[in-house]
């Protein structure tokens, strides 16, 4: 096709001007893909953390248990179903007993949620093995946020007061056996982990639990009466809703970035085509039809975006791959979102994201080349040669 050959010639002949346009466009590609990649990577990471630290393969809840209603806690416990025992022994289900307590760090009073958890469990990422300590004091484990707000450090003692199954208040000294770091604020803020057996003794609830956490790779065992299975989808619904909201916010930014790059294309393309009126008039005087001229300049504009995709690939692939490997360091304040945010986000680039971005830029570049070219090609050629259109 002659238009293809001429368009290519125009691009090469235009030299620096071509490379300027191509560079602006390639920047648009890389920034948009990077930005989307960060958002997607964030989503992935947030969900991964939820699963690793909290949800695992789903949870069995005692039928009275409602995490949003603290008053349910004292009633939502019962002995484990007998069929679970084998799976607990194989580390396929880990029971957790939940209770409420008050601690008195440094003379203050603070209500906390006590979670009795098997120190030998491997289902959740919480480093419960740190609870395997001998001694009179109750070993407890807490997260860095909790440690910071209570000013407690490893080895410190703190008084715990609780009410057992009979409604009797009791108190004891607890010793911080470990402090763990997690991206997930909900397993950290206001929570204290205690060895399961110890909590059962404290509460006088032998062999009881409030929830059972199922390993990810375990097939769902038969439902037990009195226990409700909450699958991953149910447990991730909240975070999915938040992410969805965030995604809408992200889309707005995507849209803004896209508009900016379109503006850049529009600017360079429209300006250059208007500046090239005389050239277009000359093409017509030399015997090109309007259709050929429109085709030529449209292909030229479209080729910009193809070249830009190529250039973007040259510097973008190594750059974006590096980011995906090394992660993007988030500003410290990002923790305040209340979402699981790691200090580093590892962007995820999907084929769909890349394809959509490239096609969008390609289509835009083509349209913004086509429109002014058509306008000029429709002009009286004598006016175009004079460069009359301003």
């Amino acid at each position: 096709m002659i238009a293809l050959k001429l368009a290519f010639r125009n691009l090469i002949g235009a030299g620096l001007r071509t490379w300027q346009n191509v560079f602006v466009l390639s920047l648009a590609f890389v920034v948009i893909i990077w930005h989307r990649g960060i958002i997607d990577g964030w989503d992935h990471q947030a969900k991964r953390d939820m699963i690793a630290w909290d949800v695992a393969g789903g949870q069995y809840w005692h039928e009275a248990y409602d995490p949003y209603d603290p008053f349910t806690i004292q009633d939502s416990h019962s002995p484990l179903p007998t069929v679970w025992q084998e799976m607990i022994d194989q580390d396929k289900i880990t029971p957790i007993l939940i209770a409420q307590a008050t601690i008195y760090p440094d003379g203050h009073m603070l209500n906390v949620k006590l979670s009795g958890i098997d120190p030998y469990q491997n289902i959740l990422k919480i480093p419960t093995q740190e609870l395997e300590v001998e001694g009179e004091d109750i070993p407890i484990l807490l997260g860095t946020r909790m440690a910071k707000s209570t000013q407690l450090a490893k080895g410190d003692l703190v008084t715990i007061r609780w009410r057992d199954a009979n409604g009797t208040f009791d108190a004891a000294e607890a010793k911080i056996a470990g402090i763990f770091k997690t991206n997930l604020p909900t397993v950290d803020n206001g929570q204290i982990y205690v060895p399961l057996e110890r909590l059962r003794q404290m509460m006088q609830m032998p062999n009881e639990a409030s929830i059972g956490i199922k390993a990810v790779n375990l097939e769902e065992p038969l439902p037990q009466s009195g226990w409700i299975f909450r699958d991953q989808q149910y447990l991730l619904a909240d975070i999915n809703a938040i992410l969805e909201k965030k995604r809408v916010g992200g889309s707005i930014l995507y849209f803004i970035l896209m508009s900016l790059s379109m503006l850049a294309i529009f600017d360079t393309q429209v300006l250059s085509i208007f500046r090239r009126q005389k050239e277009i008039g000359t093409h017509i005087a030399l015997g090109m039809t309007r259709g050929q001229v429109i085709q030529l300049f449209t292909i030229e504009g479209a080729m910009h975006s193809i070249l830009a995709a190529g250039v973007a690939a040259i510097y973008g692939i190594p750059l974006l791959t590096m980011q995906a490997k090394n992660g993007f360091a988030m500003p410290a304040s990002a923790d305040d979102y209340g979402l699981a945010i790691s200090e580093k986000i590892f962007p995820v680039y999907s084929a769909q994201l890349i394809l959509v971005t490239v096609s969008l830029v390609f289509i835009t570049a083509t349209i913004v080349s086509f429109l002014p070219a058509r306008k000029i090609a429709k002009m009286n050629p004598t006016d175009a040669i004079k460069g009359k259109l301003q």
Binding site: I2, L6, T282, L286, G287, T289, T382
Partner: protein, 234 residues
């Protein structure tokens, strides 16, 4: 082609809209040109020379009257047909050269042949021949901005001539050239006129060009006021 004429103009009027009214740039022109003429439209600035060349070149159309070029009435041609006519039969030389800035000299001259879909080997030979006519073979790889005014004008002539058109329309081809270059170019065109039997129509008020003309058509205020053969040059 009426009576062996390659161009026939009858009662041509061209008006341009100006403000709320019209300006009459060409006011009842009757002219015809035969094959192989070397003719010039001469007259003061604003007399309508360029306007007439544009209409002959099917870049513009008459408001009234008729202009027939190679048997085709330019005002009634579709855009595609007009492009065809220009592509196959017309060569333009613009006052401002209008070389395509992104192309090399070779590519500029090659351009009309690409539109004619000429094959590569023939194309290359034709381009080199045309550059040879105007003495520009040493500049094939140069870009227009690297050329002097005279070289650019010669490039534009080569581009107009390369397809050996029936009609060459040259608007002030020497306006930006010094006397030596002007003569060189006019001699080149004179030779091409003889060798190729192409019809040349100039628009000019340059005495150097006028000396070479074999027919001098004087325009004033959009009217032909004189039309004479100048046999001394024949």
């Amino acid at each position: 082609m009426n009576n062996g004429h390659i161009i026939n103009i009858e009662g041509l009027i061209k008006r341009f809209p100006v403000g709320s009214g019209f300006f009459t740039a060409l006011d009842g022109i009757d002219l015809s040109f035969g094959k192989g003429e070397f003719a010039g439209l001469v007259g003061p600035s604003g007399s309508g020379k360029t306007t007439l060349l544009n209409i002959i070149g099917s870049l513009d159309s008459p408001s009234e009257g008729k202009a027939t070029v190679m048997g085709q009435s330019v005002g009634e041609l579709s855009h595609k047909k007009a492009a065809d006519l220009r592509n196959h039969n017309l060569g333009f030389i613009f006052q401002t050269y209008n070389l395509l800035p992104v192309y090399t000299v070779f590519e500029n001259v090659e351009f009309p042949l690409l539109l004619l879909k000429m094959d590569k080997v023939k194309r290359k030979k034709a381009v080199m021949d045309a550059l040879d006519w105007v003495g520009l073979t040493d500049k094939v790889k140069s870009r227009p901005k690297q050329l002097s005014g005279g070289e650019s004008q010669r490039g534009a002539i080569a581009r107009a001539m390369v397809k050996r058109p029936q009609i060459v329309l040259a608007d002030e081809p020497t306006a930006n050239l010094d006397s030596e270059n002007s003569h060189h170019i006019l001699q080149t065109m004179e030779k091409l006129n003889q060798d190729l039997e192409a019809t040349f129509i100039f628009a000019t008020h340059d005495d150097k060009v006028i000396q070479y003309l074999k027919r001098k058509i004087s325009l004033a205020d959009g009217k032909v006021i004189n039309d004479e053969l100048t046999p001394n040059r024949t």
